[in-house]
């Protein structure tokens, strides 16, 4: 089975919040893959938005990203980009 993994830094200023978690679940669902986040002792599957949210990953946290399945490479790249992005195209107004 194809398996890829990678360390990624959380880039979003609010950490992995609802919108980021939603998009990660979307990546998992749209690829033939099982996608996991590893942080410390915890390993959660991205298909569970609640598991991902409950990790409360803040900006700057290093997390392990693991993908298993035929499309592991592609899913991993897409997920890494989402986690690493500094904003989520959300036009929250700061200031």
């Amino acid at each position: 089975m194809m398996r890829s993994e990678k360390m990624v830094l959380v880039g979003n200023e609010r950490g992995i919040h609802g919108r980021v978690a939603t998009r990660l679940a979307g990546i998992a669902a749209s690829h033939e893959v099982r996608l996991f986040l590893c942080h410390g002792e915890d390993k959660v599957e991205c298909s569970s938005i609640l598991d991902v949210l409950a990790l409360a990953l803040a900006r700057g946290t290093a997390i392990g990203l693991v993908a298993e399945g035929p499309q592991a490479e592609r899913a991993l790249a897409a997920a890494a980009e989402i986690i690493n992005a500094q904003d989520d195209a959300c036009h929250d107004r700061a200031g």
Binding site: R19, A21, I49, A56, A94, G95
Partner: protein
């Protein structure tokens, strides 16, 4: 002993509830209370052969709730991207193993009914989320609860379409609504809603504003204080709810609701007229905007300039702060479009913590501020991060040749601060001249008066700036020590507090004594009760949301300056805000019966 008689003779006092207005508009309608939160999941022990049926019943409710969400998603237009993303996350939560598999597990292992099992699963999730430090993520539990409530509702057989099913006008009352609920209300005959929970920045409030649906949040115990069938008046602007209003009051609100629609057409006629009183006393009515995309609206509604351009968006739309050239482009378009009218650009007005957390590469992160409203923000931030400030000033001066520029400095609290800024301005001008850039000669530099110390020192400041702009939102917050976003104190936020009115008056007097104009930007400027008082106090310019300009102009064109001055004088003698409101309600209605009042 005379008490009972006395009570019998005086009309009962108006019963009101005070919440936080999150979406303006006044409506009168019958209440429908949705007591979703109080729905208690009873416990039933199930016989063994019933278990799988119960699991199926639960799975069916989850499926149905998911279908509802997907249907709603399809109905929404593409421009509601924020709402769509919220729905997507709700669909995921609904199908999450922590919710679904856990509930089914509890049904199977403990032989209990689905409602009870779901409540158990939900409390386990809550426990997990309660341990999260990050408040933003912790608060997502509210979304999980909305999703679970949907399933609870379906399990108990309640028709979820209730919200849209009413054919008479209603005001919905609940502990809280989900953003989806709010979107659904648009379809039904819902004229407004109020909730026990929530704040001005909650998703539900944002959706309500975008739909123009009047809404009030943060009224504790609203679902017990109100009952289905009660007739109430809801003011989504002030956050006030009137219980058992009299028939005349109801008629007045409904009538004004009707008139508002007619008025919108009539106001078009005022767009191209001069903003002055019957006797020729002119007040400039200008617009508050934050992006060039609002310029069509500014022109459409006939503003005579930009009284406040909030310059923050250029700094937050991209991954890094804008460079000077980008800013020149923005300011140039802004000035050229509005010429010959003046454009007042407020320099960067942000909190330092927000800024640096957004662009961490820029400098080391700041410590989290304990009290951001009193911290490194606005002009203090610009003076701390001077390169960025200089770049903004250079861009402004370079664009100045394309129109009439006024530079506005926010949150000035001490003369030394102002002098420091002026020193930087002088250096920037010298630098530009050395590089051969042309700069308009008539650029004015003014300051926001939004800190009490600036009011007290207004006479000193007035000698050193070209104009004053009173920022009432912050001035009220700082002088009354009220955070309007806090549901426990928001009701104390009071524009008609005599202290606020006196500070405005003092600022106007100090400005005029030094021959500089004084403007006011802030919600007071567009408020039909406040605006006449402000004009009477002698403000030279009122700046407001573009769409309100015609309304205020129409009002102004029906007034006489002597009468406005007199009203302002009387108002300034009032000892509390209640007196002010009574006086205005009485006098304005008497003087201008044709005008008072649509809101």
């Amino acid at each position: 002993m005379t008490e009972p008689d006395k009570e019998a003779n005086t009309p009962p006092p108006l019963r009101t509830l005070q919440g936080i207005g999150v979406s303006p508009g006044i409506v009168a309608a019958t209440v429908v209370v949705l007591k979703r939160q109080t729905l208690r999941a009873g416990w039933y022990h199930l016989p063994a052969d019933h278990i799988e049926k119960e699991v199926e019943r639960f799975a069916g409710a989850v499926q149905a709730a998911g279908d509802e969400l997907l249907q709603l998603r399809e109905k929404l237009a593409g421009d509601l991207a924020d709402a769509l993303s919220i729905i997507d996350s709700h669909v995921l939560m609904l199908r999450d193993r922590m919710l679904v598999e856990r509930t089914i597990g509890i049904i199977r292992h403990k032989n209990v009914n689905a409602e009870w099992a779901l409540a158990q699963a939900l409390s386990e999730i809550k426990e997990r989320f309660d341990r999260i430090d990050d408040p933003y993520i912790r608060e997502r539990f509210a979304d999980i609860k909305h999703v679970a409530d949907r399933v609870f509702g379906l399990l108990s057989g309640r028709e979820h379409g209730l919200l849209a099913g009413e054919d008479r006008p209603v005001i919905l009352v609940a502990n809280d609504f989900s953003p989806e609920d709010t979107l659904r209300m648009q379809a039904g005959n819902v004229h407004g809603f109020l909730t026990e929970k929530g704040g001005i920045t909650s998703h539900t409030a944002i959706v309500a504003r975008s739909l123009g649906l009047p809404a009030v949040v943060g009224i504790e115990h609203a679902t017990s204080l109100l009952a289905t069938g009660d007739l109430i008046i809801l003011d989504g602007g002030s956050g006030r709810i009137v219980l058992d209003p009299g028939p005349t009051e109801i008629q007045r609100v409904q009538e004004s609701d009707r008139r508002n629609r007619l008025l919108a057409d009539e106001l078009d006629a005022y767009i191209h007229l001069v903003s002055e009183t019957v006797d020729g006393f002119a007040v400039r009515l200008s617009a508050n905007i934050e992006t060039l995309e609002e310029l069509p609206a500014v022109l459409r509604f006939g503003s005579e300039g930009i009284g406040l351009f909030r310059s923050e968006l250029d700094y937050f739309n991209n991954r890094r702060p804008p460079n000077e050239e980008q800013l020149v482009t923005t300011y140039q378009q802004l000035l050229a479009t509005m010429a010959p009218y003046p454009v007042t650009v407020r320099t960067l007005d942000v909190g330092g913590d927000k800024f640096f957390n957004r662009f961490p590469g820029n400098r080391a992160w700041l410590d989290r501020e304990r009290n951001p409203a009193l911290g490194l923000r606005s002009i203090r931030f610009s003076l701390y991060e001077q390169d960025m400030f200089r770049s903004q000033l250079r861009a402004l001066f370079r664009a100045s040749v394309h129109g009439r520029l006024r530079i506005l400095l926010p949150l000035i609290s001490a003369p030394a601060e102002l002098r420091q800024v002026k020193g930087i301005v002088a250096e920037v001008l010298a630098e530009l001249a050395a590089k051969g850039h042309f700069v308009a000669e008539n650029v004015e530099i003014g300051m926001m008066v939004e800190v009490p110390s600036a009011v007290v020192m207004a006479d000193v400041f007035a000698a050193e700036v070209d104009f004053f702009a009173i920022g009432t939102n912050d001035l009220i917050q700082y002088s009354l020590a009220i955070d309007r976003g806090n549901q426990y104190v928001a009701h104390l936020y009071e524009p008609f507090h005599p202290a606020v009115l006196r500070m405005i008056r003092q600022t106007v007097e100090a400005g005029h004594a030094n021959n500089i104009p004084v403007s006011l930007c802030g919600e007071m400027a567009g408020d039909p009760l406040c605006a006449p008082v402000l004009m009477g106090m002698g403000l030279d310019e009122l700046s407001m949301r573009p769409a309100i300009v015609p309304k205020v102009k129409r009002l102004l064109r029906h007034c006489r300056s002597s009468e406005l001055r007199q009203i302002a004088q009387q108002v300034l003698q009032c000892g509390d805000c209640g007196q002010v409101r009574n006086l205005l309600g009485r006098e304005l209605a008497k003087l201008y019966p044709g005008e008072y009042y649509q809101g």
